[in-house]
Amino acid sequence: MWTIDFLVDKIISSFTILTIMTSLMIIGGNSIRKYIKYYSYQGIMLAVVGLGIAIIAKKPDLFLIAILVLFVNGSFLPGLLYRCLNGIGDVREEESYIKIPVLIIIGVAFVILTYYIAYPMLAGDVPRLSLAICNSISVVLIGSFIIAIKKKAISQIIGFLIMRNGVLLTSILLTSGMPLAIEVGIIIELVLTTFIMSIFTHRIDSFFNNTDVSRLTKLRG
């Protein structure tokens, strides 16, 4: 009963569900600092899942990737976003068009959708990890939903990063570890994208005095 494989399976599925929970909490929150905090928690969860896969699939290079993910997603990117946020000094998200509890229920509906559609397809091929893979696919959907509902530029960056987290999680779980070069390439690309987007946000703020994306339609001479 208490074999290592059993423990690792349970830990992986619990942590993928925790990733969904933190994404839903980002939908429910109001302060951008909390978004960044939850995002850094997601980095830690990703690293734990990577470690679990490294133990199951017996791939030592996945340990390296897990440590890299822990460093980059758990501390470096959140630090970058905090710097960007401090430069702007605008820490509250605007009120959304729809009430927050409704948004969270829509988020849960995405999870149900994934379970309904993706689980029957996966259950035949990867019976052990199919629940975890379903969860990571729904993290991708919830990330794109965050981009759609949030108004501030930094929140949209965080939505994008959560989507990337979901993609990374899905790739780790589905292929039980891609080659090291590809994973490192993905992570470097993530860092560069975040750099560019934070610089862009800073420019938007200095030009419009505001990072609310819905007000960018105004012309300014």
Partner: protein
């Protein structure tokens, strides 16, 4: 056997409940560098209130008179559905978790009616808030009962417990982790604990439960206070019995029952210390933000139920 069961169950529930209230109050006092009240102070308070005269409003109807008795008795009976001690091969066919949840709802219904009965403004405010909180929390409670019950094959607490004891690896199941978080939030809400309601205040703007029972005095007030602490004990014992079921299984005997009860009581003290610790670290939520906490509990229990339907069937 079943008579013995009822007697022990009721004695534990009614007798120990104020003690846990005392422990939580003491912990809160120690965290503020006060010495605090003695651990047995809730018992002294109850004894004092039972000696005092009852003052009832002239305009109050019979509902006001019987509500404390109904509240006390439904809460005490609801304790019978959670087995505080179990024996090998012993399952009882009394009722399940759903009956427990709706017995508690019956008691709450009468206490809210009684608060409306005297026509005071605080009573109406308190009962409307109480009903709001309970409406927000009820879906989460029922869904987590369904999630736990669907693993065990029955919504009775005895079969949930037996199922857990039979498969030790259950504690790592995602379902259990998420229902634990959901039930903890429900515990804080149902027993009027800190992020929802401040149990130690009589400030009229913030109180929920205290506002409802403001009109009561003497024996009636004592019964209501006692029932509230029994309710808190009930939810703490659900957490202990569902998530920490350490059962002393030997054979039928006085020693076995005694040991199981001792372990159970130690665990309830532990969980109430955790509740007190959580309460120290939280500030009270604004009334309209309670819905966010409840949606968190709802989401947790919803995910637990979904996980069952996806991966267990």
């Amino acid at each position: 056997m079943s008579v013995l069961y009822f007697v022990i169950q009721l004695i534990i529930a009614i007798g120990i409940a104020p003690f846990l209230t005392g422990i939580i109050k003491k912990l809160k006092a120690l965290s503020q560098h006060r010495i605090g009240i003695p651990l047995l102070q809730p018992y002294y308070d109850l004894a004092k209130l039972f000696k005092k005269d009852v003052v009832r409003s002239k305009t109050a109807s019979w509902i006001y008179t019987i509500a404390p008795y109904i509240y006390f008795s439904t809460t005490a009976v609801a304790c019978l559905f959670i087995p505080f001690f179990t024996l090998p091969g012993w399952s009882f066919k009394l009722g399940d978790a759903l009956l427990m949840a709706y017995l508690l709802a019956l008691g709450r219904f009468f206490i809210t009616l009684a608060a409306l009965d005297t026509g005071s403004t605080f009573g109406g405010m308190g009962s409307s808030r109480e009903v709001m909180v309970s409406v927000l929390m009820e879906p989460a409670l029922i869904l987590s009962i369904f999630a736990l019950g669907s693993i065990a094959g029955s919504t009775g607490f005895d079969s949930i417990l037996n199922n857990f004891v039979a498969n030790k690896g259950m504690i790592l199941e995602p379902i259990y982790i998420f229902t634990f978080i959901a039930l903890f939030i429900i515990l804080l809400a149902e027993t009027c604990r800190m992020p929802i309601d401040d149990p130690s205040t009589h400030l009229e703007l913030t109180m929920i439960h205290e506002a409802m029972i403001l009109e009561y005095s003497g024996r009636d007030l004592a019964l209501i206070e006692w029932a509230s602490s029994i309710k808190q004990f009930l939810f703490i014992s659900i957490l202990v019995r569902v998530f920490l079921p350490f059962v002393v299984y030997t054979e039928f005997g006085v020693l076995s029952i005694f040991l199981s009860i001792c372990v159970f009581l130690l665990l309830t003290v532990l969980v109430s210390l955790i509740v007190g610790f959580v309460e120290i670290n939280l500030a009270k939520l604004r009334l309209f933000k309670i819905s966010r906490l409840s949606i968190l509990a709802f989401t947790m229990s919803m995910m637990a139920a979904l996980t069952y339907f996806v991966s267990w069937r």
